[in-house]
Symmetry: C2
Subunit: 260 residues, 2 copies
DNA sequence: AGTCATCACTCGTAAGGACAAGTGACGTCA
DNA sequence: TGACGTCACTTGTCCTTACGAGTGATGACT
């Protein structure tokens, strides 16, 4: 009966005690925590209080609870998949994404269709709710089992010049750059924007995410020589499975971006 | 009384109904949701069930609950601060981090001290629990109020060659690179690794994070000509306030990394 | 020996009641 | 008018009880 007293609510004291035990290593990773009943007698509180404490630890991603078995200390395993974000151009002018792209299609690819975007329109220099030409995919990395949601978005202005896009199913992620070069749209620079958010239920199921696992969201925009956006690629994946890696080399001069 | 039936548990049905109303725009952002009592009569369930549903929406980051007032639809405001991750070298050989570094010290800086790292040792090619020379900071962006935790880590092997580091307080983040050049440690490349995780309580309070807000974690490692790590900078901030932006330019040749 | 029912244990769901605590408006009182 | 107390409303905390559902081992039956 480790007596507890300190801060705020009872369940927070219980949560703090368990958390401390986990972080100090008293409860090792992948270890079974005491059951709810045991915690009730241990701290002299009711079951809702224990469950409330456990819910707090769950939201912090410290433990995993399995129905009928118990609560396990989550092994703070680092991501097993590192996505190297680098785009290179071969001498023939073809674009390759050389690494981190061992993705395979996990489902039958969709076809291009009209989409609207609230969150990423800004990156394409569009207003909110503006229509786009786009395609969704569910990708999987066979080596690690990591899943990712991929979306290609092309402004209508650009898509109209590319008759090939009407064909179905839509091209694999990397091919879109090649397609663009065929019609004279040469991407000169890419900007990647990285965000994180909590998954909605559809993302939770599609990406098979455990509790309290954020989604990493990468939006890659290709710009042409006039700094106008050509394509937007979105990639979402569970932050427990994969991480992003950028290699930065020192320029001789600071790069300046055009200011409209 | 919108009757509900479909999937799984009662509280999930209630949560799904509210979630749908939010995503469809029926409940506008920053709007007050019906109170718990109203939801009880609306769906004909008990208070624990309503609270359970609300807890689920809270964990998804869809709503904010304020004691004594009610539940508000969270305005899905995009991050206001964009951190441009680019390192440039001036012609004099001094290193500058030209953008996204309007940070100010939010607290009196600490002094360098010995730290151990479990999660990021790998990036420095060290084992787990290996000791390092390091310094923590709490930064703030005055324009947006965004807070960030910053940590500088230097392997003992490197730190021993730098007598300047013993001085207190420790240098501002960017200065460490300049210090290194003074003793012949020239950084040639940087690798940034991006992860996301849910905050522990200390991160929640230090960064002043709302519910269900992930932490974005950037680890920047500077390597010398022999590809040995010189410094590790860690930056953590709330994913609701800031995002990362990388500009990628197309190389003529794919970059190959040494394989040991 | 093998199969399968049972049981004890786990967590999940749902309801009920009671009181504490934060918030804001309203009305009283000085 | 101004200050303040009260009250109604909100969510927060905590307890009790009950049953459903997943898991694994035990043991009886074939």
């Amino acid at each position: 009966m480790s007596e507890i007293q300190r801060p705020g609510a009872l369940y927070q004291q219980v949560a703090a005690a368990i958390r401390e035990a986990i972080l100090s290593g008293e409860f090792a990773p992948d270890t079974l925590l005491p059951s709810e009943a045991q915690l009730m007698t241990r701290y002299g509180v009711s079951r809702p209080t224990v469950r409330n404490a456990i819910a707090a630890l769950r939201a912090e991603g410290l433990i995993d609870v399995r129905h009928g078995k118990g609560s396990f200390v989550r092994s703070s395993g680092h991501p097993t998949l590192t996505l190297e974000r680098r785009i290179s151009r071969t001498s023939e002018g073809k674009f390759v994404m050389p690494n981190g792209d061992t993705w395979q299609e996990a489902e039958e690819p969709n076809t291009y269709r009209t989409l609207t975007t609230k969150t990423t329109g800004r990156l394409l220099q569009l207003g909110e709710e503006e229509a786009l030409f786009g395609c969704d995919r569910l990708l999987i990395d066979p080596a690690t089992g990591t899943r990712a949601m991929h979306r290609t978005l092309i402004p209508f202005e650009v898509a109209e010049a590319v008759p090939l896009l009407g064909e179905e199913p839509c091209k694999p992620p990397a091919a879109i750059y090649w397609v663009l070069t065929q019609v004279g749209g040469h991407a000169l620079s890419w900007t990647e924007t990285v965000r994180a958010h909590m998954p909605l239920p559809d993302e939770r199921t599609a990406l098979q995410l455990p509790d309290a696992t954020p989604v990493l969201h990468v939006a890659r925009v290709a710009h042409d020589a006039d700094d106008r956006p050509l394509v937007l690629e979105e990639l979402r994946f569970g932050a427990d499975r994969a991480e992003l890696a950028y290699r930065i080399t020192a320029d001789k001069q600071p790069t300046r971006r055009a200011r409209p």
